[in-house]
Amino acid sequence: MLSLKLSNYKIFTFMAQNYTSNPSHYFKAYKSNTDRAPKKKLIKIKNDINKRQLLSKLYKNFTINNNLLCFNKNKKPVGQKIVIKGNVTDTSGVPLKNIIIEIWQANASGKYRDKNDKHDATIDPNFYGYGVTKTNNIGNYKFISILPGAYPWNNHKNAWRPRHIHFSILDLNFFSRLCTQMYFPGDFLLNDDPIYNSIPKEHRNKVIAKYDNKKNKISNYLTFNFDIIL
């Protein structure tokens, strides 16, 4: 890594894949990526913002604690009911409270509530597919949903996306902003999925939820644990 010290600032040039568990920006097997990923080296800047200022203002604009992804409690969506829970920490393992987590997902047949989703499957009138919550004082969160279906896409011949749930995690500022996907254990489609496989091999287990029904207090639900490190 090359570093140049320039007056008050240090600017580093680097190859993006070297600094975290993140995928590299460019990953050839993911077709949509090849015309969009930057090819030039990224520039490192330092975190110099007082992030605490943002906190209270952000919350006013999210309907927090809408952690049920159905339209209506009394009308049941089709599919296996699941609980997704986990803990959000920083890289030192310290729990982070008041982190805003949004999730969105396809329904049980692998269909999104989006006119651009051309998958030949049915929209479930009782399932919306979006939830938002925030972590409590010890960094925990919980959502109640249904197991999303896999669906085909055009990346390569007979390509299917494994079951997944999109996560958007908004910390107090953009320095620890994260959008990721949570996958399910034992999904055979993971092996052929270029988006999942873009993650360095040693870090792929970090995006697979763990089946954890031992402490589940809601009957008829499968519980998955997905811890997040910002």
């Binding site: 993911y30 930057p38 604009n61 030192s92 509530r113 994260l178 970090k206 995006v207």
Partner: protein
């Protein structure tokens, strides 16, 4: 006891995919802002497009923007918003207040095809503070000008700017990684 504490690796990033439009919350009714209404002066309207390697407009993207101003060398938060592509206006529209606008606009870009979101900044060509900005001076000389939005008209106290962000190609914008 060792003073060294082992750092954990962050959860890896993944693409937001194409189907976020109906789910995530956009265009907050009121920008999340610390600006007092009675202090609003001239407004800025930025017409922004994101383009790929082949100069095609990237519509299935969303942008989060953050505005700060500097006071005693510290950045003070002014504003946050999240926007998606406006089909009618054929652009991402960013509306700002010029009040205390003496720093650049931070953008975070998320899109189908991007495995990691991208950080960048935008300066405005008639607001000369950027010429003295230490950070701006350290951007690569041959690509600096890709970061400056151009004023195209001034009407009803609103300055209208236009700017294209290029994710890839010969006009590739400068993107950042934040430590």
């Amino acid at each position: 006891m060792s003073l060294y504490k082992k750092k954990l690796f962050k959860t890896p990033s993944q693409t937001v995919g194409p189907f976020f439009q109906n789910y995530l919350k956009f265009d907050f009714n009121k920008n999340i802002s610390s600006i007092k209404k009675n202090k609003i002066k001239n407004r800025i309207s930025l017409n922004l497009n994101i383009k790929d390697k082949k100069n095609r407009i990237v519509k299935d993207a969303f942008i989060e923007y953050w505005l700060f101003y500097k006071k005693n060398n510290k950045k003070i938060f002014l504003l946050f918003n999240r926007i998606k592509y406006d089909i009618k206006k054929k652009a991402f529209l960013i509306n700002l207040n010029e009040y205390k606008f003496n720093t650049y606009l931070y953008l975070t870009i998320f899109s189908r095809g991007l495995l990691n979101h991208l950080h960048t900044v935008i300066y405005f060509n008639d607001l000369n503070f950027f010429k003295k900005d230490i950070f701006f001076k350290k951007l690569p000389i041959d690509r600096r000008h890709f970061m400056i939005a151009k004023l195209i008209k001034f009407e009803n106290d609103i300055k209208f700017y236009k700017h294209d962000l290029h994710l890839n190609g010969t006009k590739e914008s400068i993107f950042f990684y934040i430590d």
